[in-house]
Point group: C2
Chain length 205, copies 2
DNA sequence: GATTATACAGACAGATCTGTCTATTTTCAA
DNA sequence: TTGAAAATAGACAGATCTGTCTGTATAATC
């Protein structure tokens, strides 16, 4: 994330250019919607430009290539994702075990939403499946961060064998995302929550 | 792997055009490899033709469009998949619970193989994410069949609440496929097996 | 030998793809 | 008001995409 030449807004602590950032953000937002809806390869630059109402040269001034645009979108969405997830988890004070379960409440909420169409990052790795591809790497980094958050929740709940439990819960989340998207139903997420509860109870002993 | 022109072998009971089936199978096999390796949108018809050594008109004589080719590949791979899975599961006589666990042994074997690059059908749904898209439907049908096989194993093991357990185990499998592909490691499959064992033991009570 | 199937090579249409370029207009600070 | 920065439209190159078409070659069958 690069902050560019400042303008107006002189007082603030965050000095950010308006127009420039605005166009950039328009592009990122539009690109995200189209990539998410239609896929990465299936979405052409021209379509993004038309939807965003931005000229081609403006895009290529901000991003060197389509790949770089994709990477920027992945990064932004990952940040938004983790912020939203964290907020949800911390929203209510809960007993440690219950807080862990909140991750699955969040999951259920997500897959139940009208906009849900599977995981943006899973799709990235599906289309760019080579492990060394920068896009695959970026998506994987997102997954690693997510795993880290689950892991932290498990540790804070002072489970023994925290790695094992965190691994297992993460698999449930990932599987539920796939199945919920595949079937268009939130039920898999609910089932994942039940499975998680079993595993959590088991881990306590 | 397609066996090519049988030539001779004139006696047979099934009278099928030889050349035709052969070319068709060459196309399906090559198309599968390329779709699996590089994705559906990223793989052009011309590349398939070049790799398969088949003329363009031959392809369009067998399939009306690229979409129809994709559907045929999905169907064929799904058949092969289920046959291979069933054979593995039934290979050794086991106690019911152990047979269920065999599904996870199969999973571990699969994701450990050099050729593993994630799930062909997950990728199809990732690229054709609209529920009503025929390609999505075909991939979903595959997943439904797989779920059915897991379900059958659970029922045969005479677990109470067979649906719940089958649902949960399926999620673990799916999640492990995603993570094993994402990370390039078979470990998630091993963790899924452990989680499955926990759930199975729990379900017995 | 004649007929019919199948497959061939390769040109072609028409659309779309990413990325480059130029020339013009808008924006906004000094 | 002036001048630099930013964004514009739109042409363009060159590649690639799916799908069509023609005419020819190969091979099995009658």
């Amino acid at each position: 994330m690069s902050l560019l030449s400042p303008v107006k807004e002189s007082s603030a602590s965050t000095r950010r250019p308006r127009q420039r950032l605005t166009k950039r953000d328009q592009l990122l937002e539009t690109a995200w919607q189209l990539f998410y809806r239609n896929g990465y390869h299936a979405t052409g630059i021209d379509r993004i430009l038309a939807d965003a109402g931005v000229a081609k040269m403006t895009l290529y001034k901000h991003f060197r290539s389509k790949e770089e645009l994709i990477l920027a979108v992945l990064e932004k969405r990952s940040d938004q994702f983790h912020e939203s997830f964290s907020r949800f988890i911390r929203a209510k004070k809960r007993a440690p075990e219950r807080q862990l379960l909140a991750a699955f409440d969040w999951l259920i909420t997500w897959v139940s939403s009208k906009e849900f169409r599977g995981c943006f990052f899973q799709k990235a790795m599906a289309e760019y499946q080579d492990l060394h591809d920068p896009i695959h790497q970026a998506a994987l980094a997102h997954k690693a961060t997510f795993y880290g958050e689950i892991r932290r929740l498990v540790v804070e709940s002072s489970f023994p064998n925290s790695k094992t439990l965190a691994d297992q819960l993460t698999l449930l989340v990932e599987g539920a995302i796939v199945y919920s998207h595949a079937t268009g139903s939130p039920m898999p997420a609910v089932q994942a929550r039940e499975a998680a509860w079993s595993l959590i109870k088991n881990a306590r002993r």
